[in-house]
Symmetry: C2
Subunit: 298 residues, 2 copies
Amino acid sequence: MAETGLLKPALKAIAEDIDKSFDLLLPVPGDPRDRLVEAMRYATIGGGKRVRPLLVCATAALFGVSREAAVRVGTAIEAIHVYSLIHDDLPCMDNDALRHGKPTVHLAFDDAAAVLAGDALHDFAFEVLSDPATSGDPFTRIELIRTLATASGMNGMCGGQMMDIVAETSSFDLPTVTRLQQLKTGALLSASVEMGAILGKLPPEGRTHLRGYARDIGLAFQIADDLLDAEGDEAAAGKALRKDEAQGKETFLSLLGAERAREQARILVEQAIEFLASYGPEADLLRELARFIVERNH
Amino acid sequence: MAETGLLKPALKAIAEDIDKSFDLLLPVPGDPRDRLVEAMRYATIGGGKRVRPLLVCATAALFGVSREAAVRVGTAIEAIHVYSLIHDDLPCMDNDALRHGKPTVHLAFDDAAAVLAGDALHDFAFEVLSDPATSGDPFTRIELIRTLATASGMNGMCGGQMMDIVAETSSFDLPTVTRLQQLKTGALLSASVEMGAILGKLPPEGRTHLRGYARDIGLAFQIADDLLDAEGDEAAAGKALRKDEAQGKETFLSLLGAERAREQARILVEQAIEFLASYGPEADLLRELARFIVERNH
């Protein structure tokens, strides 16, 4: 595939659109709830690569879905992603001080505000999806909601996070680490692609290739994260690194070694791109995004 | 209204049905996520008065809705209620050791498991509601989801919880305390009645009286809670009491005094029952439930 230079402007555009969307949908009420909404805004506006919203928009664009609808769905998924980061950064979880280059929510506000801001963003995602502005078709809205709730709950992200905690005191093998990562990070990345296809009214039986793409970039994303955790630059990452080894967790990196892990990520990206073979240039952004996932430095 | 003795068997039946429902819908997966699901089961099975599910079922029964559908919706609302208790009990929030007469989730498991179990129950509620088993009609499911997400997020329960935190360092007046309680406790109680009516396909314009009932019992419920906090028995309550005064919060009790607060709760219950005037004996359970809310000792 030739480098088409679609990605850079797309990342810029989605960052702007998602910031605008959170700004619009999270007005400060001007009452004693202000601190809650300010914490929600602090966590959501102006940070993050917005990979998940971009996956929604790039997938939805394959099927001619309006940018507005795709951005709304991307906003909902990003709200889930951000709420999970807020809770994950809490002292009783990973106890992180830095996120997207600024103090984590529990440090900028306090632990209670961080718990509540996460909880409220969690609801916010479902409020956005259930609103008719997301889709006039209730079947589409229900399918979006079911997909997101499943990807983020005990059979998705939350389940993966619990496995991640158990990993600190267990010796997981490669299949178990793969399963952990498929739940912890993969489920929400896959849901992003799936929800783009749902918006595009692609029937489930037509989503097989896109699901293959999503699964492979999800694993590649996590391997790249492991490598960044071990080798990356904290300033570029905007968060603390070298945590996996300190916590004694088995990761793709500890199990495969750096060289094989890097090779595995490259193979997964090529496989992901293969899954898009039936699409023409309209899928070039998804192809570039797959490469970006392993080549990014943060 | 004559005492019809409907309440006691109804409370027993709903407690059994909700326990059974959580037991069925939360199977332990038999993998490294077990600890998460065990924490979810610990928090949901075998505890609580199940007032919210009973409100759903009693309202839905007015319109001939199947018990099975009403119990599913009650399970979803109870999942939201329980998740909020788990997070509220955390050391960084209310730091409570006892809930429903047993150690709180963060003590029985740990803080991280409590955060995640709450988060996963939060998703679980939307998974249950978005499932076709709840209602074959996607419009009904969407309306249920929207109602619950709104009642539990920043414009409902979470907003009220933030106001409750602010209350510790502010001097709220009666209208502000009323607003706080309408959000913190009232929103989910109102949603329970509303969702019963949604299941019954009652159009929004037909819900005015039921909404009046729900609003009034919601406030009465909170006044009763304030009185129990000040005067109740910790063993019967199964949780720590005398917290409001220790935290220096203005409550209905501190603002009105015990006598006027008790009188206000009684007036609200009579008003709530007035709102049911257009219903016959089929609403007797809702009437008894309104009285129970102020007369309960836990």
